[in-house]
Amino acid sequence: MIIRRRLTVGVGILLATLTAGLGTALPAAADETPTKASPKVELVLDVSGSMRTRDIDGQSRMTAAKQAFNEVLDAVPEQVQLGIRTLGADYPGDDRKVGCKDTKQLYPVGPLDRVEAKTAVATLAPTGWTPIGPALLGAADDLEGGDSTRRIVLISDGEDTCGPLDPCEVARDIAARGIHLVIDTLGLVPNAKIREQLTCIAEATGGTYTAVQHTDELSGRVKQLVGRAAEPVVTPVATEGADSCSAAPQLKAGLYTDREKIGEHRWYRVDVLPGQELRASVTVSADRAVNNDYGVLLRAVTVHGREIVRGSESGTGRTDAISSGLRYPKPEQDGTDSEDKPAAETVCLQLSNSFSAPASVKTSPGMPVELTVDVVDAPDDAADAAAFGLGRGWWLLGVLVLTGLIAGLLFGWISRWRIAVWRTN
């Protein structure tokens, strides 16, 4: 173990020196902007009239939500900027037009003052309509700015009846803005319609849906979701693949996002020097209702259109995403003069998917794509099937022993025969 470790360290140092010596063709992913800003979370709470219903542990939904909020506010991690938005909190009337605009920010997104936030929550009383769509749009605006991760936690007990704005479409549009926003939903009523709507919202943004039946479940789950927002995570860089290799964006090592419609092709270009290995993996997320069978294909193609290697995957059934990847080690160039700087090869990456969706599902904006590109040193290729060409096993031992024995006997006999010949002469 120690020998192993030492060697690893040694090799690591060696590699580090080598990469440093190579001038590091990859400037530590210059396009990866480190997330300086702290993560932002907005809790969106339904304060519609139906929250009066007393069906959560014998108390009203509103009381349960308030109690949960108090616990959550106490447990919010330091670095999280938290805001609270309400929907249906102000307008008690019957005018649908007015009622469906009723959403406002209760507590602005920023460093949390627990006392203030709690006081604000305490004033809430179940009142009006359930305009989920406008509330989500408002929340997305509240979280504007910075490059941090964003999360909306939507707690609702009712279906959005405000139309024509489908909250699910709203969620997908918000996600398509490319602002790393995830919407998690919590439903307070086990009702098929509400569940469908809230799962659709969650699915559209890569979030989760939870059905809440008890107060402790509610506070536990919201705490967990806020905690997830606090987890440090690499934020991808938005890119836009072209429909042909020649027009494709040039990518360096890094993590990228894009959108791809069903049946669309997206092309990207990566430069690979001789002696380097390209690693690319891609994940296409199913952010809407799709048919049961689907697939993804990532091809590495030369500029002349010859396929080098491909990664493909297909799947069936319920899924959040489908992914595949490929490696392309470009061999070291032989026989070139040392003055010749080896030319980088442009590798085109073609991404396609074979998702299909029922006719009722909107295909635009495209499905979210996550692409990781990595360029490392090429591997030591195998010269033999076995490690270092070494042998192993009882057959090997038998053969070696037998060979030794025969060789020994032969030598012995030959030398005896020679001595005998020498003597007779």
């Binding site: 530590a28 670095q79 959040d320 490696r327 192993r392 070696l400 030398s415």
Partner: protein
Amino acid sequence: MVRTRRVLAGALLAGMALLTSAGSAAADDPSASPSPSASDGGTGPTEAGTTFRTATTIQPSQRATAGASTGDYLYWVFPADAGQRATVKATVTLPGTATRHGASTWQVDVYDGLRRRQACMYGHQTRKAAADASTVELSCVLRTVRAWSEPWANDPLPGNYYVRLTVVDLPSADLGQPVQTAVEVTAADQGGAHDVDGMLSEPLAPGAASLQQTVDASSDGDSMSPAPLGTEPDDGWASGWWTDRWIWTVGGGVLGALAAVFGYSLTRGNGRPSRVPPGA
């Protein structure tokens, strides 16, 4: 059985080959300690990630748990090195039968560092939980990790492996109900028979070379740690030079030499030419 035989053979050969200290010390290296990190009591993280990017890191022999909602996609990531065969075991504790509406099917999928799906050799990768079941046990035994493979193959390579646990089929009324999940990964060394030639320059881990990105705190300094990109075994990645094939080959050479000496001596009799009289 095979392992014992191998260790015995290794020890025997090492002794015969007079590779006294180094040889025998190295001989028990790959086989005797299949789980080097077992010492930490096995308790792991209590949260799971929800995407490849946010997957929670676990080490072999750790038991990771996570509370989740039915329908969530839970991700963990663990390192596996060349020559290891990893086994992923997942347990899902379902909510009470009173709130459930029927049977559900759970599935564990394993993806490699390039996010390519990896096949399970054995194990219940997908299992249906009856309407009255309280837990589901899933398992997946991966193929042995190879040090190198051709780029056109999807053989498992040293690097990170993602575990995805989710429900794939259920009555839609059961979506969102709370479940408890636990995942445990064990890695067993498969020994020299699986040691292949060649080696990757970097293990298949995200951002192996380039993404030295850190997410630092905005104002209060140390409240955020660097974003996890990949994970590596507790004692680092194997350097790739050690294989018990060295012992077999060297031992075989020594045995061959001994056999040669023996064979030679057979032709010599007792050391005196037979025609020479005893007293001469």
